[in-house]
């Protein structure tokens, strides 16, 4: 999709993880080395596009304090310079490029779940919905309580499996109530949980990342 829009895309092979799981679970020491690693992998990019809102929130909210904790003046400066060029995928399209119509075609019934970190930490607001509304052929159905957490929450899903399951049950019920064939979001971790439950219940409803929808075109429909 990015190439269709005329951009040159690179995938630095040395990238691994932003450190969110470690940091948010309390393993700060394990997360710290991933900051210089990220900078080393991406420092030359004009824009870093991340298909996960919680990873971007992790970097924006914590990398500056993590760099300070490491105490390397050069790293602090580099994080400072790099972070403004780091975008969540939908944010890159709507805010950096100023686009809502990316020429996508997706002839399916779709509902959108607003992932917590995208909504609250990044302030994505209606950006992803604007992108979806501009997709040709789409039948977009709004979900009830779009902004309510799906219950994933990283290690929360296993540490508090029962509560997480109860939260997820409300979310999948809301998805099913829309009658959509597809549930989308800007965060694969939410989608992994929602998809896992929708599959367990054999609902036939799929989850796909927003990028997959926007990648569809009339020439190569999905």
């Amino acid at each position: 999709m990015l190439e269709r829009l005329g951009h040159t895309v690179d995938f630095p092979a040395g990238q691994t993880c932003c450190g969110q799981m470690h940091w948010n679970t309390g393993y700060q020491a394990e997360a710290l080395p991933l900051v210089p690693r990220f900078v080393a992998q991406f420092r030359h990019a004009e824009a870093v596009v991340v298909p996960s809102s919680s990873c971007v929130a992790m970097m924006r909210d914590h990398y500056p304090i993590m760099a300070k904790e490491i105490g390397d003046a050069r790293l602090i400066a580099e994080v400072d310079q790099l972070l403004p060029r780091v975008y969540e995928f939908s944010e890159f399209l709507t805010r950096c490029l100023g686009l809502t119509d990316v020429g996508a075609y997706y002839p399916h019934r779709v509902t959108y779940h607003a992932s917590c970190h995208g909504l609250r930490n990044l302030g994505l607001a209606d950006g992803p919905l604007d992108l979806l509304r501009s997709v040709k052929g789409i039948n977009l159905i709004e979900i009830e309580n779009m902004d309510r957490c799906c219950g994933f929450g990283g290690t929360f899903a296993v540490k508090n499996a029962d509560v997480s399951s109860a939260m997820l049950a409300e979310k999948t019920t809301a998805v099913l109530n829309t009658g959509a064939e597809v549930c989308t979001a800007c965060d694969n971790s939410c989608l992994m949980g929602i998809q896992g439950a929708l599959h367990r219940q054999r609902t036939g409803v799929r989850t796909v990342h927003l990028a997959e929808i926007l990648a569809g075109s009339e020439e190569a429909p999905r």
Binding site: N24, G26, E30
Partner: protein
């Protein structure tokens, strides 16, 4: 049905995951909690929405609280001077035990020895230290006068919400409690019937009992005044009718100036009950002949607040003005209600306050009782960044537990994998091999995992997990690049 005759004490309560599992099985409780939190949330959203300067108010509220905490010693001493000058008597309590000792002694000094009894205004601080038990152990009868606290007391229950303590009970359940405990078998179920029953029950106590115990919403350093906001007027009765009033307040409740109420009395009612203003706002300063209590005592209680204050990242917890908005907004609290948190402070604020008040010796699962969705931070009227404090406390828990447990070892291993591209690639290959025995094909030929061992088993309790793709994005990308796209 969960009936919590046991105390909500973090030292003895089951861990959150265990207690939450029990709560999740109580469908009536969950229905009550969902309904009540939705009603309050909607009311709050309406009255917050009509405030064009809400975000500025929040910021101002935060600044006031931050400033106060930075100079807490100064403002507490100023409060003591001014309250004493106005005829109040100030007592200092290092912890809950000392606060209970002082309160019990004061009550004994003032009540008639023949029928020692006190009336009480709703107070979370006294719930925190289980004051009622101490008073009863000293032979003093205690009457809660807040309607919700009365329901809790008569129902031998525990508060499940800091503003609406009986939120987990519905009208029929309350009627049953009143029928049984007030001996009113024919009591109707209309709100009016229940209110009338409570009124008759309480009026007689208001007229008879001459000693009252209260908490405080705010202490004003500048004037030595104490503030309580409430909805029913029963608190006002407690504050004005008895001869003796004993107020117990955490040292975090102080505000520098009288005008600071201008901000707080906008933030608090809108956030707490979705009202523009509380029906009853009581502010009293010392004693005055012929008007209200003749003896007025304030017990200023630390109970580990100083330790919270000493932690630069955790101290914003003390900025809390006990509105309960975070509880109503929390998707976790919505499922479990308050008792699962094993403390009178439930929900997101409880998840950060309780462990800190225990100095992390107890309640270590509470910092994990959140998906970090941020709904609490969004509604907090003084902008406490609850998710950040949760993460900070998780780090403390991890350090306390040390490196020799399965989770820490798994985390360390994954840390090593994430630090190396070579190891990352190897882990992806290894993962695909390791998962093979667990993968089953579904009807459309896709591979799914329906059962995972150990810690990961929580995932497959209600979810399947898609098998790892035969070709990762990385493989696909590299193949594509080598073919010149």
């Amino acid at each position: 049905m969960s009936s919590f005759n046991i105390l909500l004490d973090p030292k003895t309560s089951p861990t959150f995951p265990i207690a939450a599992r029990a709560a999740l099985g109580d469908t009536q409780l969950r229905k009550n909690v969902r309904h009540a939190t939705e009603v309050i949330q909607n009311k709050r959203a309406r009255v917050v929405g009509e405030m064009p300067d809400w975000q500025q108010l929040r910021e101002t509220g935060k600044q006031i609280r931050q400033h106060t905490m930075a100079h807490l010693d100064f403002y507490l001493e100023e409060f003591e001077r001014n309250c004493t000058r106005a005829g109040g008597k100030v007592h200092w309590a290092r912890d809950g035990e000392e606060a209970k000792r002082i309160a019990t002694q004061l009550v004994k000094e003032h009540v008639s020895p023949d029928s020692p009894e006190v009336i009480k205004i709703k107070s979370m601080t006294t719930e925190e230290i289980h004051l009622n038990l101490a008073l009863e152990a000293a032979g003093i009868r205690v009457y809660e006068t807040d309607l919700a606290e009365l329901i809790i007391q008569l129902g031998h229950d525990q508060p499940s919400h800091i503003v609406v303590p009986a939120l987990h009970k519905n009208r029929q359940q309350i009627r049953e409690i009143f029928q049984r405990e007030m001996n009113l078998p024919a009591l109707g179920e209309k709100p009016q019937d229940l209110a009338d029953a409570a009124r008759r029950f309480l009026r007689e106590k208001f007229l008879r009992v001459d000693t009252a115990v209260s908490g405080a919403n705010f202490l004003i350093a500048e004037t030595g005044s104490v503030t309580i906001v409430e909805s029913e007027g029963n608190g006002r009765m407690c504050l004005t009718l008895p001869d003796t009033l004993i107020t117990i307040a955490g040292i975090d409740k102080v505000l520098p100036r009288f005008v600071d109420l201008e901000v707080m009395l906008q933030l608090l009612p809108r956030s707490a009950t979705g009202e523009r203003m509380n029906p009853y706002n009581s502010i009293w300063t010392g004693v005055r002949p012929g008007d209200g209590p003749r003896n007025f005592h304030v017990i200023l209680m630390d109970n580990a607040r100083t330790e919270v204050l000493a932690d630069a990242e955790g101290r914003q917890t003390l900025n809390c003005i006990r509105c309960g908005a975070c509880q109503n907004a929390c998707p976790v609290y919505r499922q479990t209600g308050g008792h699962a948190y094993g403390s009178v402070y439930a929900g997101p604020i409880g998840a950060i306050l309780t462990p800190q008040l225990q100095q992390l010796h107890h309640a270590q699962t509470l910092p994990y009782a959140s998906s970090l969705c941020g709904a609490c931070y969004e509604v907090c009227p003084v902008k406490i960044n609850i998710p950040e404090v949760l993460i900070h406390l998780r780090n403390k828990v991890v350090k306390q537990k040390g490196p020799l447990n399965p989770e820490a070892i798994a985390m360390k291993t994954m840390g090593a994998i994430f630090r190396s591209e070579r190891r990352f690639r190897a882990a992806q290959r290894l993962g695909r091999i390791a998962e093979t025995p667990l993968v089953r094909k579904d009807g459309s030929g896709e591979g799914w995992i329906g059962w995972l061992p150990g810690l990961l088993g929580g995932w497959t309790q209600v979810r399947d997990l898609r098998e790892m793709p035969k070709e990762t994005f990385r493989d696909w990308w590299e193949k594509r690049s080598s073919h010149g796209r």
